[in-house]
Symmetry: C2
């Protein structure tokens, strides 16, 4: 299918998507579950060929890609389980009270229904998990939306292989042929046209701030604005409290040297900013972390554009007033490689320089030394919204810093105690979506089963005869789902 | 408080709101419940004086206002019950699996937290239920957000009385004095400044399309866009199927004569459009409905601006090609009164005239006669998004028209069978929010307890020690709320 649709105009793609939507929106949860499971099976059936193709296009190592493929199939299966069970539709029933005074209460029932055709943009840094059959596609299909996927130009062949797997799953499970469509077109205009097409009802994107905001503005300037879920990255601040620095600075340095440089720093949850209170222990920690990072060799980045941006942004950050280089990879970077880098600055300089809260996408982190807790607090207040924030501290000092942690929480979508922000667990309790500018909408997640909520809206059914109600809302509860019936949650 | 803050600058109001937010966001559900209950009690304590003030400012009759006050206090109490019980925070817990291969699973917990200071604009047509202590204020306060309320200039004294009641409730329940603030300023600039203030985190509005869209565009053009919930009205189409017209056209005409003219048609759910298939029965129905509406006297509208807009928009609608007047109030309208009006047009003219899907706010309805089901379907496809849509039909013909009803459902937030769209029940199953342009965000409701979801975002807590977790997420579940624990819903 992808080969055909690659030459199809965007208008045709959306017309076909709408046509498929009118069929697909009414497919049962059980059948959508089979379809999502079939996509996972077809991706797995591509075996090593898929990994080889992705290695060639992304420079990511096989083990990392194998892990990402497993995560992608796991995601598809989690959504499959979710829609097979069915309670996600958030069904509510308030039965009629015909003799209520002064007015009778009608029978009212409510559930989530799909929005319509969704446009998904593949991401460069996750060729599987956030791309063709990634979480945006999986959650939109689970919701009952059809998908028009714009392949990321950095891995077109990988994307095409995955799109073919989805086509096979469509054929095997008897879905409408245009339930999923694959568009290969790297032009700026095609992205705009996809977002502004009248039939597009929502957009999923993971990538740069400039890319995400361009799509956002196209969407809100439509005659009928639509939601855009742009996940645009973050510097993921880490606050290291004095007690932890005293007791286990070597261990923390180990953890962070690995987290900062993992996958050449190309994660949206990469810890790009660390902060602590000035002390000899903090100086030693800085040294230890730098020593470890020196020995982590530069790695080839996803594509030349990302590598040259890293070089440019790293140099810009290092040239700011008061910033000094602590350490960089001993091994010199080759072409398109990113070199592991740790820099440091005093909080007073940090507080006066907006450049220092900008993301340097790659294996880079800035360590800020504050002289007082007031300065640390001022630094938190200065931070833009973040996907994550982390606190490293001993148990008793965490209690002591409870107010400070509360403040940090206002800035982030996920707060981690004594861990690293990289490694985003795929589960119902995950929230991957922070206050602006980390995402365009802090109320929704792009990881975990709640990602389905981005692509649905509630509809109330008033006084419907039983025969016309969807299965989720029928009196007999044939699907056996959880429902709020007259304000009581029951199956 | 309102007298003081009326002269306070908007910047000060938001600074104070943020200061109060840092305290209020951590107030327990039980205490927020007491506060909301106290607001209801203080509003009721104003007794007849409040109704008299509102009658003077809105021209609405006492019985209507007494009913609206009851609804407003009922809303406050529903939110009180909701936050006292506590399960609304949608708590999820995925416990750690330290020995999972290849990577351990961390302990992850998630719940909803308040967004921050919310700006609410009072509505002219509901001086209580959508104004000072209306659903936007009640749901924002229930969520843990502070509120800056901009009084509607059409009923400033009523608004001030309700604001004073809230101030009393603040004092009695020991809330921060700036948890709620009242701004009296009818200038265009003040609305813009409130929406664009950096500390404002969300906006609630009920009113005209132009007003709602102006606020929306201010919000999305901010350096950090924020959500705006504008509820902008609707023409609420009603489809009358042939069987019902044969069997009970007189009864339907009775129902609709009342619904179209209730409160001089000044409801966002007023049925401004009716459609049916051409037949002698439809002609008779049109005549019957017209005869009934003739005898419904003109009523004084909320304020002179609304009355002159009604006059202008009614004349514009009646002047469109093919539109003919069926009936209007026999009694001539006095100054600022709206006259009950029924007009009719053939579907072929309706399909070619975009003016005919524009709202005429007041006691006006247009009856469209389609010659075929295809024409009726084309008319549905032409409709912009609606708060509601209604089908009048006999049980067997409803089944026959199931596909058509599905199509109608794509256009509306609530679908009613054999009823009228006016009368919006306040309950968990209510969805009051349709596809654009009826609202700016079809995913959220502005009636019913789910309105609280507009003012919260999820936060994940990773590896938090028990002592630092909020009560909602502690292992022991001290609040006894429903939680999704390792994918199983339990108390």
């Amino acid at each position: 299918m992808s080969k055909e649709t690659s030459s199809t105009s965007i208008d045709t793609a959306l017309q076909q998507s709408q046509e498929a939507f009118l069929v697909y929106r009414r497919v049962s949860g059980a059948k959508k579950a089979d379809f999502l499971e079939a996509i996972a099976v077809e991706i797995e059936a591509l075996g090593i060929r898929l990994l080889q193709q992705a290695m060639e296009e992304t420079n990511l190592p096989e083990a990392r890609l194998a892990g990402e493929r497993a995560r992608t199939c796991n995601q598809l299966r989690q959504f499959s389980t979710l829609v097979k069970e069915g309670s996600w539709v958030d069904a509510r029933i308030d039965t009629a009270i015909p003799d209520r005074a002064p007015l009778p209460r009608p029978d009212l029932r409510k559930m989530m229904v799909p929005l319509g055709p969704v446009v998904v943009f593949g991401a460069s840094n996750f060729p599987f998990a956030y791309s063709t059959a990634g979480v945006d596609t999986a959650s939109a299909l689970a919701a009952g939306c059809t998908v028009v996927l714009k392949a990321h130009p950095a891995h077109p062949k990988t994307s095409e292989m995955v799109a073919d797997a989805i086509s096979k799953a469509i054929a095997k499970t008897g879905m409408h042929v245009h339930t999923f469509q694959h568009v290969q077109d790297s032009s700026f205009e095609s992205g705009k046209a996809l977002v502004q097409h009248p039939l597009t009802k929502a957009v999923g994107f993971t990538g740069s701030f400039s890319g995400g905001m361009a799509l956002y503005h196209y969407a809100v300037q439509r005659p009928d604005p639509i939601p855009v879920f742009s996940e645009m990255g973050s510097i993921n601040p880490v606050f290291i409290l004095p007690g932890a620095l005293k007791v286990r600075r070597e261990k923390v340095a180990d953890m962070y040297a690995a987290s900062i440089t993992q996958s050449v720093g190309q994660f949206c949850t990469n810890p790009g900013l660390m902060m602590g209170l000035q002390s000899p222990a903090l100086d030693q920690f800085t040294q230890q972390l730098g020593d470890k990072m020196k020995n982590i060799a530069p790695g080839t980045m996803l594509h030349p554009g990302i590598a040259s941006n890293f070089k440019k942004n790293r140099e810009k950050a290092l040239a700011q007033k008061g910033v000094s280089l602590v350490a960089e990879s001993i091994e010199k970077p080759k072409e398109n490689q990113g070199t592991s880098t740790l820099s440091t600055v005093n909080a007073s300089d940090f507080l006066n320089d907006p450049v220092l809260v900008e993301e340097v996408f790659g294996p880079y982190s800035l360590l800020v030394k504050a002289s007082t807790i007031e300065e640390l607090t001022a630094a938190v207040n200065k931070l833009p919204g973040q996907l994550t924030a982390t606190i490293i501290g001993e148990e008793d000092e965490l209690i002591h810093y409870a107010e400070f942690i509360q403040l940090v929480m206002e800035k982030a979508g996920r707060v981690i105690i004594n861990g690293v922000p990289t490694g985003v667990e795929v589960c119902p309790s995950m929230h991957h979506g922070g206050p602006f500018p980390s995402t365009t909408d802090s109320r929704f997640t792009s990881v975990g089963t709640d990602a389905i909520k981005r692509f649905v809206r509630p509809v109330s059914f008033q006084n419907f005869p039983e025969a016309l109600l969807p299965a989720e809302l029928k009196q007999s509860n044939p699907l056996g789902i959880w429902r709020l019936v007259n304000s009581e949650l029951k199956k």
